[in-house]
Amino acid sequence: MNGTTIFTVCGILLFAIGLYGALAARPLLRRILAANIMGNGVFMVLVAGAYLPADGGAATGDPVAHALVLTGIVVAVSATALGLQLVCRLHELASGDREPDP
């Protein structure tokens, strides 16, 4: 039960929770948060896998995995920003006729 297994399981759970939230949550804002949680789950699986390189050197893990996750985080914030902008505009455009869930 070393660190890698615990965090891998945590990553899988976050992925599943995020997937559920992204599909089932009613308020649109919450779906965007759920998509972020889903992304965090994937990143955790990646970094947990990179934690203990076989050759046991200074265990800074596998830099390529860290670079991938860094790229993923920036992509996630960009998608979230676009999503939030659309949610706000939809709220303003559509609240004229009926009250959509925020």
Partner: protein, 111 residues
Amino acid sequence: MPGASRTNEPGATRVLTVIDLLLSGTLVAVALLTLGARDLFASVVLFISNGLLLALAWARLGAPDVAMAEAAIGAGITGALVLAALRRMQAFRGHGGASPPASGRDDSGSR
């Protein structure tokens, strides 16, 4: 560096495992709470704390770069964006929309 702990006696690794379990459990719990929170503002705050906990997890997993990026971008900037979006929707409902007065509570979010 957390990696170095592997060399000393098992007592330390047992403590480390407890910390890992604690951190992972809290992360999953906060994620569940974020989706289940009654109020949108509460789920946003929980989401930001989830981001910070995640930064802690990256540091524990020996990824300082990712930890800094997560704290600065994942929790910081994303949190600011989501709070701004929430503020904008409540501000618009406040004197734009015809619905009940601007209450922080999100009346329509059942789950």
